[in-house]
Amino acid sequence: MENIELALTLLIAGFVIVFVVLILLIAIITLYGKIIQSAQNAVSNKREKKLEENKEKQTVKSIVREDIEEDDGAIPEEIIAVIAAAVDAVYGNKPHKIKNIRRSRSVRSSWGNAGIAENTKPF
């Protein structure tokens, strides 16, 4: 009899506690989801507004071949196109202009640098 009382108590307590904890989680996650969404919407709206203002003042300038300083060994146009695309991917809609492209003086190759960075990165 005592055990059956315990079983019924556990049924009710378990049911209530599990639901209360998970409903609290629903409330908190819904709330912070809305806060984050509205904050992000506000930031993106601001960015769009700024972009429109900037568009009126100046147009995004394309890369001008003459602007690029060349070394003795000229940088091929394909490489310039790739670098321009990478810069564009990073800055996105922000107005930007590439003024200069120089060869790296590094003795180590980019792959070598990447390997060292990966292996020496602290935990």
């Binding site: 556990l10 049924l11 378990g14 049911f15 506690i17 639901f19 989680l25």
Partner: protein, 417 residues
């Protein structure tokens, strides 16, 4: 002649020490059961990652019970120590009735030491760390109402508890049996190791067997409780979830659960730590280790040692049959409660929720979600509950079920321990 006598003595001693002489019929039955489980794991691929080490551990402990033997200390006199070929100076002494005895210690078996990870409740939270590092809580964050289905599927646990009490199990045993309904192996092992470690073998085997049988157990219940129209409901696409939301989620969950239910903190805490490793994106190496190397190592130790608890004399009892029957009832009730709450949500949202996603509330990630998708698609081939709408929608209650079963485990431990 002397050589023949010595040879005969050696053969007799070998026979006495061998399993042929020392093993009981229960051990032989368990060895056969372990062969069947190995067959199911290898040939049928039923939860092989755990069933295979469990079955092997089961076989090994029934052939050589000493592998799970406890460490022991024997009191010996100096003459006995010297006669046994030991050095008396290496042992501490105890004086008893004026006689000095040497405390000759004997180490435990290999699995005894590995088993401490289960006994002390270390391995299941480590498995949860790996699960957290592999889980995407995005669908749950996008639709937090899924938590209701994750909670509903836990009702089976508490109803089964009553059934176990009525069948004559003690409350702690009943709690360990009922948690099988959560369909979460590490949670079932964690609760059992805390409440009734002697039932670990049958409960682990039952829990993992039913998880492997999800594709067979769940669909008939799902079809029985839903109409064709309900099963055909196509759910709307979930909203995208930002990285910031995903990073905040584990922190919020662990703070809330650990404050309200500290007994659930080891499981939920490690689950969420693993998830934070994944979502933060700054500790990629640790996240990879948690979900691969660490998880695999712990799975091996957990599997073999849990299997090793299933020695013949402990396993082959009427209790085991009760555990297997009650475990199945708990599992079916969990599925049914999830689907029924899915139906309530369907009614409350005027048909926007497909009730099939409710069955995914019993953890068993991701199999239960896949079954929701499969049953939904049988009715409406254009319905993708998992991949587009149903799979992603079903993953919400599925991962909510993991959190729900950990919370239910916390309730059982705090009330019964």
């Amino acid at each position: 002649m002397g050589i023949f006598n010595q040879l005969g003595e050696i053969i007799v001693n070998l026979f006495r020490d061998s399993g042929l002489c020392s093993l009981s019929w229960e051990n032989y039955v368990m060895i056969v059961i372990s062969f069947i489980l190995m067959f199911l794991a290898i040939k049928k691929q039923y939860e092989p990652l755990l069933l295979l080490p469990i079955a092997f551990g089961m076989m090994l402990v029934n052939i050589f019970p000493g592998i799970m033997g406890n460490p022991s200390t024997t009191l010996m006199t100096e003459q006995q120590v010297i006669a046994a070929g030991f050095d008396p100076s290496s042992y501490t002494t105890t004086v008893f009735d004026g006689v000095t005895y040497y405390n000759v210690t004997k180490n435990g078996g290999l699995f005894y030491y590995l088993y401490q990870g289960v006994h002390l409740g270390i391995f299941p939270p480590l498995i949860f760390l790996g699960i957290g590092a592999m889980t995407d809580f995005g669908p749950l964050i996008a639709n937090p109402k899924s938590f209701i289905l994750g909670a509903a599927a836990q009702i089976g646990i508490f109803i089964t508890f009553i059934g176990a009490i009525l069948l004559g199990f003690m409350p702690k045993e009943a709690g360990s049996i009922a948690i099988i309904g959560g369909a979460d192996g590490p949670t079932a092992i964690f609760v059992t190791s805390q409440l009734s470690p002697e039932l670990l073998g049958p409960i682990a085997v039952a829990a993992y067997s039913y998880m492997a049988l999800v594709p067979i157990i769940q669909p008939p219940i799902m079809k029985l409780l839903t109409t064709k129209k309900e099963r055909s409901i196509v759910m709307e696409q979930l909203r995208p979830v930002s990285k910031l939301e995903k990073i905040l989620f584990p922190i919020v969950v662990v703070v809330l659960v650990a404050i309200l239910l500290p007994d659930a903190a080891p499981l939920v805490g490690m689950l969420m730590l693993g998830n934070l490793f994944k979502e933060s994106g700054v500790v990629e190496r640790i996240a990879k280790t948690a979900q691969n190397e660490l998880m695999n190592i712990v799975t091996i130790f957990l599997g073999v040692t849990v299997g090793a608890t299933a020695s013949g004399t402990l396993f082959l009892t009427p209790k085991t049959l009760g555990i297997i029957a009650l475990g199945l009832i708990a599992f079916c009730l969990g599925t049914a409660c999830g689907v029924l709450f899915g139906k309530i949500m369907c009614w409350a949202t005027h048909g926007k929720v497909n009730p099939l996603i409710g069955s995914a509330g019993v953890s068993a990630v991701p199999m239960a979600a896949r079954i929701s998708q499969k049953v939904g698609q049988e009715e409406n081939p254009a319905n993708f509950l998992l991949m587009h709408a149903i799979l992603m929608h079903a993953m919400g209650p599925n991962v909510a079920g993991v959190i729900g079963s950990a919370v239910a485990a916390g309730v059982l431990i705090s009330v019964l321990k």
